[in-house]
């Protein structure tokens, strides 16, 4: 039965759309955006959204490694392109401030009806396509060449490989340390959407589900928003790639977010009154799309989907995204 699923176009469409819609619904309910998560630490000293991220990460680390150990998916470690990861992550972190949302944040706000985010997604798609299959792909080829790639024993490095311990020992230590921090964290005040423990738990489970659901109908890739955004533009314009799970997953995100927002009475077409802000958001999108192609993925792909495999490269990307975000937040909002 599982083999026939692999051939089924309908199963691919349904599983993709369902995963994306559930993810989009959750993003909207939890107002889950990593631009918010990282920025608020610095700007308002508020950790609410960051706590949701850490909880999602812990759950996806445990869940994804269980999937690997049960043989349901294969472990796939992102390469440690130290230069590309640093530059891409940092620029991505700057871009999300201008775009008014991270990869996932921008996509779910499209479903809420925020026109600025729609403009940002367009910028993202155009530059990411140019930087991956267009004329700018030489930059990523240069930055991601072997000279700037670190391997340990001919393999992409992982956290457990680095400390030379069994991966479950590393997972237990990480889960215990961050779990205690989360347990002592403040309960949220003034929450209108889902509280951070609910949001974090559901996002974590959906990251795990995404790995599994994509593996049923094609290559296991999990939830990713950058390469799939390129596909949604390149498919109608230049006819590649073949329709895949990821493209339908991505279409599902704004749909799920729209349903959620509609039910809450939060869906309406709206946008900033100053025209210059659309340009800013478009520019932010351009920067994000270009950057994500250097860093090998956006904040969801690197920060959750692949960090759950304990890839060291993914950890580097997310740390540089935070740094880039904080640099810009300081520059724009805290300098005086």
């Amino acid at each position: 039965m599982l083999e026939s699923l692999q051939e089924s176009f309908a199963a691919m469409v349904i599983l993709g759309l369902f995963t994306g819609a559930a993810f989009g619904f959750t993003l909207q309910r939890g107002r889950f955006c990593m631009n918010t998560a990282f920025r608020d630490i610095l700007l308002t000293k508020d950790f609410t959204t960051f706590q949701a991220y850490i909880l999602a990460l812990l759950i996806s680390i445990v869940g994804v490694n269980l999937l690997v150990d049960f043989g349901l998916i294969e472990s796939e470690i992102k390469p440690f392109n130290w230069l590309a990861n640093a530059i891409g992550g940092y620029l991505f972190g700057i871009g999300i401030v201008f775009a008014g949302g991270c990869g996932s944040g921008t996509w779910y706000r499209v479903g809420e009806g925020l026109v600025g985010s729609m403009v940002a997604v367009l910028g993202f798609a155009i530059s990411a396509m140019a930087a991956s299959i267009g004329k700018l792909d030489f930059i990523r080829k240069y930055l991601r060449q072997e000279d700037f790639t670190i391997q340990i024993n001919d393999q992409a490095p992982t956290l457990h490989g680095l400390v030379g311990a069994n991966k479950w020992i590393v997972i237990a230590v990480i889960t215990a340390a961050l779990g205690i921090w989360l347990f002592r964290a403040q309960r949220p005040a003034h929450q209108k959407g889902w509280t951070w423990p609910v949001t974090g738990a559901v996002i974590g489970l959906l990251i795990v589900f995404g790995w599994w659901s994509s593996s049923l109908v094609g290559k296991a890739e999990g939830i990713t928003l950058a390469s799939t955004t390129v596909s949604l533009l390149s498919y109608p314009t230049v006819g590649i790639p073949k329709p895949n799970w990821g493209m339908f997953m991505l279409i599902g995100i704004p749909l799920g977010a729209f349903v959620s927002a509609r039910l809450l009475g939060e869906a309406k077409l709206r946008g900033p009154s100053e025209p210059s802000r659309y340009l800013k958001q478009f520019g932010g999108g351009l920067l994000m799309g270009f950057a994500a192609m250097q860093s090998g993925g956006c904040n969801i792909n690197q920060g959750l989907t692949n960090l759950s495999m304990l890839s060291l490269g993914s950890l580097e990307v997310i740390l540089f995204i935070i740094l880039g975000n904080w640099t810009m937040v300081w520059f724009l909002f805290l300098r005086d």
Binding site: R39, L43, D46, R109, H190, G193, K268, P272
Partner: protein
């Protein structure tokens, strides 16, 4: 005295940053009504205001994707 700040169309952090700035110009005891259309703002402004020591009098949903927050300046 009651002041009004309309930040419709603004997303975070602009709505919160503009509210912060406006609160600075108010006298203690003055109230500020913030009107906005971005869901997260309904959580961010009250959280910031309480941390800063101001009074959050009311957070109200007034329509489809429209909210109002009433704050009172309590510290300089």
């Amino acid at each position: 005295m009651l002041h009004t700040l309309d930040v419709k169309g603004e997303v975070c952090p602009y709505s919160t940053v503009k509210t912060k700035k406006k609160m600075k110009d108010l006298a203690i005891g003055d109230q500020l009504k913030v009107i906005f259309d971005y869901p997260l703002t309904a959580e961010e402004i009250p959280r910031w205001a309480e941390k800063a020591g101001h009074k959050v009098i009311e957070v109200k949903k007034t329509g489809d994707a429209e909210w109002e927050i009433l704050l009172e300046k309590a510290v300089a």
